[in-house]
Amino acid sequence: MSIEIRNISKRFGNFVALDDLSLDIPTGELVALLGPSGCGKTTLLRIIAGMETPDAGSVLFGGQEATHVHARERQVGFVFQHYALFRHMSVFENVAFGLRVRPRKERPSEAEIRERVMGLLKLVQLDWLAQRYPSQLSGGQRQRIALARALAVEPKVLLLDEPFGALDTKVRKELRRWLRRLHDEMHISSVFVTHDQEEALEVADRVVVMNRGHIEQIGSPDEVYSSPASPFVYQFLGNVNVFHSRLHGSWAEVEREGEAPTAGSIAFVRPHDIELDVAPLAGGMTAGVRHVHRIGPLVRVELEHDGETIEVELTRERAASLELPVGKTVWIKPRQAKVFAAEATAPAGKQPFLF
């Protein structure tokens, strides 16, 4: 079922969580709401679920007005970051809950409930845990049970609030691939909230990048990464070097992009888009090696140029062939850069945004 969000606003006291936000989520898509904490992504998800009421605007499910439909009638499956399993119920009873609370005439028989629940537990590969209690499960198992519980009521929309946020890296990676496959099998619209750009880029059909209650960009994972619409998106999705073009007049490549760099406009270059050599590069500039970090398959070189820090990422082999002792002077040159006018970058701040 499609979800349409029309001009939603929500404030908490003086804090503006969502500011006149609109978004269309077509049927069957897996959409990621991505942004830093406090950007309003969870609030938006809770408004879709009916757990918060917007101050203004409306929510439509499948074209039908749903803004004031109570959460229990929205037929959404909600998965919480901390699972929210019913701690005093067995895994089986947790999954059966949504069926048992139905009005008597709609409630399936005990045999049907049993069949449905065991079917869902098989779907999440945990049927052997049916009689356990949530406290006896690992984090990843709990989240799979939470998912089975949400699916038991046959929701039209599945909403997941930082579903893998409380899990460790390895489990998180496995579970998100598994979620992707599950989504494809279930033919359901899913929306998940995350602050992890890698997670959003890997799993989602479409990524909605949010910041301060606004949508910065909507696009496929490839679009938002390779053609960011704003400095914020550029900085949020991956590491980036920030150059103030007025200060770096020697960056002819930047100037030639034809994006009318005025004084004070800012160029963004990804660390892997910078060429580095020990020999002079035409149109390049010099910088001193300050640190060399070896991170798995990559080598991250921290350079200093004019008092500013520039990061360059190289493959292991390339770094080995160059030999880069600390203090050595090298030549650098960006392969591609993106220039934004200075005022566009104001909300994102001017510090290199590294994490």
């Binding site: 009916g50 809950f97 406290s135 496995e174």
Partner: protein, 298 residues
């Protein structure tokens, strides 16, 4: 050789501290308890039973139990409602409500009793109206129930607020999103989660309700066989130099205290077990990838 941890205190310090604590307990708790039973049985079991079978003693016991039975349901209802409001909602005046709940602990019970005299006494605000309608509150059961209610109402709420705050709203929200009605959510999710905390609060409130002296004394009027609770009965008999009677009634109170203590210990143990269950070390997550979901399509 025993391993001595670096942080452990010297042996004599530990012995001294334990000794002081145990000595204090013996002097102030065990010894008085023995003294109560000793005095009560000073003239043999026969006299002891006679004192307890006395009609005034029996009516005092009955009244104490009646008051507790009336007060506890109110305590449960108020305590759960207040804790729910404070733990699960944000609203203006929340901190004021939190403070007000503690008021009965801060106010002397005698003052609490006087408040009801001022409100409902013959010369009180509603005195003439009550007299005209022939409703007796002061020097009657309703007044004693009100006074007991006043001094006991913080117990359940104070026990539940931290518990419900720690549990958060996630489970209730999950229940609602799964289609549960408010009532179903309350009985199937909230109540099972708070039942031991609630029990604990009820036990404490019950102990206070049965043992309350000050507030009840002010509003009771001490009418023998009618408005004397067990603690008031003990005082009256003692003032009349009826040692056996006073101490026999006191043994009943002491016995109720011991029952409370046992019940409290059992509930505490259950609560701890439940907390342990909730925070138990998780087994390591299985690292093998769940195979692709295989659902059969029609």
């Amino acid at each position: 050789m025993t391993v001595r941890r670096a942080t452990a205190e010297p042996r004599w310090v530990r012995l001294l501290l334990t000794g002081v604590a145990l000595g204090f307990l013996f002097l102030f708790l065990v010894l008085p308890l023995i003294a109560v039973f000793w005095e009560a049985f000073a003239q043999g079991a026969q006299t002891y039973w006679e004192a307890l079978k006395d009609s005034e003693a029996r009516s005092a016991m009955l009244l104490t139990l009646t008051i507790a039975a009336v007060v506890l349901p109110f305590n449960i209802a108020f305590g759960v409602a207040a804790a729910w409001a404070i733990a699960k909602f944000e609203f203006r005046g929340k901190s004021l409500l939190t403070t007000l709940i503690d008021l009965p602990f801060a106010v002397s019970p005698v003052v609490a009793g006087l408040i009801f005299i001022i409100l409902f006494g013959a010369q009180g605000f509603f005195g003439s109206w009550l007299a005209a309608n022939d409703i007796k509150i002061i020097f009657a059961l309703p007044g004693m129930v009100l006074a007991t209610l006043f001094v006991t109402f913080p117990f359940v709420a104070r026990e539940l607020i931290p518990l419900m705050q720690a549990q958060g709203r996630d489970e209730e929200e999950a229940a609602i999103s799964l289609g549960a009605s408010g009532w179903q959510m309350f009985w199937r999710v909230t109540v099972p989660n708070i039942k031991w905390g609630l029990m604990y609060g009820v036990i404490l409130a019950n102990a206070r309700a049965m043992g309350e002296f000050g507030a009840v004394s002010v509003v009771s009027g001490h009418i023998r066989g009618e408005t004397n609770t067990l603690p008031l009965h003990v005082e009256i008999l003692y003032n009349e130099y009826n040692q056996i009677g006073a101490f026999a009634a006191a043994t009943v109170l002491a016995f109720l205290g011991l029952v409370t203590l046992v019940a409290k210990t059992v509930v505490e143990w259950r609560m701890r077990k439940e907390t342990e269950m909730l925070t138990a070390d998780l087994p390591p997550e299985k690292t093998e990838l769940p195979p692709t979901v295989a659902t059969e399509r029609p």
